[in-house]
């Protein structure tokens, strides 16, 4: 009788453990629509912050959901992932916003001013935002 009770408790524990593990394994990616925006900036502000001091900017923006408003310099639509580059006063560099496949349904035109939400991954030449969502166009 005692052993049976222990076995039942063990079985339940293993089931719960397995379920939690399975849920963890399949946990969804961050949902940018329900997350709070950490920073609302213009493309120029974001870029200037990174130009001034990369490590301070990383503390502020890295891995955070950032909402950026800026003018489109270039649109690159691909089957898989598309990117939009936002203008800054720098001749060569700006903000690169990467959209997952199928995310960009209405493709805005070069020169349009748009607002984009994305996760900031740091700066190479440009500041890079991934998993972007277009807020308006």
């Amino acid at each position: 009788m005692n052993i049976r009770n222990v076995l039942i408790v063990l079985l339940i524990a293993v089931l719960i453990g397995g379920l939690i593990g399975y849920q963890q394994y399949n946990k969804p990616h961050r949902n940018l629509m329900s997350e709070e925006v950490t920073a609302q900036v213009t493309a120029q502000e974001l870029f200037s912050d990174y130009e001034e001091d990369e490590s301070t900017a990383n503390e502020k923006y890295l891995d955070e959901m950032v909402e950026v408003t800026g003018k489109i310099e270039r649109v690159n639509v691909e089957q898989e992932k598309s990117t939009i580059q936002l203008k800054t006063d720098h001749m060569m560099a700006g903000i690169i916003c990467e959209f997952e496949a199928g995310e960009l349904t209405n493709i805005p035109a070069e020169g349009d001013t748009i607002t984009v939400r994305g996760i900031c991954t740091g700066k190479l030449m440009d500041v890079v935002l991934v998993r972007c969502i277009l807020m308006n166009s």
Binding site: E98, E100, L124, M125
Partner: protein, 183 residues
């Protein structure tokens, strides 16, 4: 005689300008990696890598942001960043090298096999690598592609025992880039 000199000059000019724009660039190079074990297949993609190729001295440079790699599973992406790559400490991976073979590329040849040698920096560790690849000159652009493997242990990346069988010792890296002339 005159025609010989003129055609000689033209030939010379032709060879000098064989690769017309010397520098090519992209900020949308595709870099992905693939880890294959009997337990699990893991892959991740990064479409925001920068790549510069200077055909004058055949130098080639790549840079990627580690956090910009996207995985199918959020948990894997988290482990990759926080535990293995420590991307808060080492946010970038870079390659700086040279096309060593052939020693001179011709823009007229189309797709050519190349060999690239240089320093690959991942997780703050520099390693000398040599990788095969192809370079193709199209009308306006240059396409660069390569597939090579890196050993996880070469870059001081510590994989804990519980997931050791899930992550390959050697990870396959695929690079695909379309570069535009730099004006």
């Amino acid at each position: 005689m005159k025609t010989i000199i003129i055609s000689g000059i033209l030939l010379l000019l032709g060879s000098i300008t064989s690769v017309e724009a010397q520098k090519y660039f992209t900020r949308e190079a595709q870099v992905s990696f693939f880890s294959d074990t009997p337990m699990e297949e893991i892959e991740a993609h990064n479409g925001t890598s920068t790549c510069v190729v200077d055909f004058e001295d055949q130098r080639m440079e790549f840079a990627v942001l580690i956090k910009a790699f996207q995985f199918e599973k959020a948990l894997m992406q988290e482990h990759f960043n926080e535990n293995y790559m420590e991307s808060h400490k080492f946010p970038k991976a870079t390659f700086k090298g040279k096309i060593i073979n052939p020693t001179e590329l011709s823009a007229k040849k189309g797709k050519q096999d190349v060999e690239v040698q240089g320093t690959l920096t991942i997780h703050g560790v520099d390693q000398e690598v040599t990788a095969p690849g192809t370079i193709e000159f199209t009308k306006e652009n240059v396409m660069v592609s390569s597939v090579f493997t890196v050993a996880v242990s070469d870059y001081d990346i510590d994989i804990p025992g519980v997931v050791r069988d899930n992550i390959a010792k050697e990870v396959e890296i695929t690079v695909d880039a379309t570069l535009e002339p730099l004006k």
